[in-house]
Subunit: 268 residues, 2 copies
């Protein structure tokens, strides 16, 4: 690794592949960046570091300033002036959110609990059902059918829900496709192609600058995060066999293993 940028067509191709298509939401990408490089309590990033990395990704300085303003306003990050420089860090709220997500994003395998439980809700009006579903999903439940939800481990006390503890015996195809709809299947397949572009510059990782490595790493984590967090947190057996999710996970693990998890230092 060295700090001297030099032209590398593979890295440009990889960055283009990972930023193409849908609008890159800058504030969301900056959350990914903090979650990856400054998640630990006390960790911070300077304005200069942020500008450098987001600039390499192709984000305009003004778009970055707007996003930082929004993230401060929404309580995700806080800033501190040190001399003439600004430093940014996750707030306790922001750190908590990114730590929750990090458990899934960086995991090499999906956690499979020793046991499961299903809860059944009383048939009810659509609005009540939506409110209950929101509560249960916030607690980590996965919706199976309009009145049934899957939870990990033994069922907690919940007087209004029928509950059964046990082991999953069979996941039918219709449920796999409900848990991973066609759109998500396609996005996952598309992600795999983009990740393949990100593999190319890794052929000679020692030739990557610290900045290119950081930019590539952030874009890979961000692209993976955007697909992964739309999937329920369930083992692969709950999803269609044709899903490229497991392949993407493996590639992400491989790429991140080859790229250091730290922001490039600003010298001088």
């Amino acid at each position: 690794m060295n700090m001297t940028p030099k032209p590398d067509p593979a890295i440009d191709t990889a960055i283009a592949a990972l930023t193409q298509g849908r609008d890159l939401r800058v504030w969301s990408l900056i959350v990914t960046l903090f979650g990856d490089m400054a998640r630990a309590p006390g960790a911070r990033l300077s304005g200069a570091q942020l500008s450098l990395i987001t600039g390499r990704i192709g984000i305009r300085p003004e778009a970055m300033r707007v996003a930082l303003h929004r993230l401060r306003k929404d309580g995700w990050i806080e800033s501190k002036r040190v001399g003439r420089a600004s430093h940014y860090a996750l707030t306790p709220f922001g750190r908590d959110q990114t730590q929750q997500a990090a458990k899934r994003i960086y995991a090499g395998t999906v956690d499979t609990p020793d046991s499961w439980h299903i809860v059944l809700a009383e048939p009810m009006a659509q609005a009540d059902r939506a409110a209950l579903e929101q509560q249960l999903v916030a607690k980590g439940y996965v919706t199976l059918t309009p009145t049934s939800y899957l939870g990990k481990g033994p069922a907690p006390a919940a007087p209004s829900l029928m509950a059964m503890n046990g082991q999953i015996d069979h996941v039918p195809d219709w449920l796999k496709h409900t848990l991973m709809p066609d759109r998500l299947m396609q996005d996952c397949a598309h992600l795999e192609k983009r990740l393949k572009a990100a593999l190319k510059p890794l052929a000679c990782p020692e030739e990557l600058t610290a900045l290119d490595a950081a930019a590539l790493r952030i874009l890979v984590v961000h692209a993976w995060r955007r697909v992964l967090l739309r999937q329920a947190d369930l083992p692969d057996a709950f999803f269609p066999v044709a899903s490229r999710g497991p392949a993407c996970r493996q590639m992400v693990q491989h790429i991140l293993g080859a790229l250091p998890q730290q922001a490039p230092e600003i010298s001088g």
Copy 2:
């Protein structure tokens, strides 16, 4: 016990209590009678015995003849002439049906399986759902919600159903009331009162004639059967605490233990 009928106001009151109210469906009562007194292979009842018992219950001879005709036509019973007398027996189909029901009717406790399973069906149109429910209920499943069903023991292979094996953790009140709706609760409470009337003649069972004992027994089995078979075959914990079902079961056990399970012999 003796064969000489003598007036007993308690038995008349009991028979009146057990036959009052809703129309007694004669063919259904005759199924109860065969199921109780001639369920074993080879067992049969003579026309004279049937007339005697149904007569004691208050069924007109013509109503009995119509019912026997219908039951023969529907394949429940078959008849054979022996000299000038007719003898009746359950067909193999009729025996199978009554044996299935007998497991529940005469049981002193409800069978609780070591484990359960829940299956979930894909949300589907009403007609498809009704067809699936019919299939599952025929296999012994109990409908919990419009797309979820409870089965005993481990789940059998069923590719289209999500299946989980385990233990019931909690049965909420709404489910207890779904499994035992108000009408059934009331009928159960009413049955308890009628069974109390049937207890009176048992104070001195040795004074009962064989015919009175048989009539009383058949009416008790019949009244219990009509309420019991409208309930799902589940342990008491699945029903409201206020249900009089367990009390009825105990009284039925007590009454049947005091009355012999055999048709009165016709002498001469």
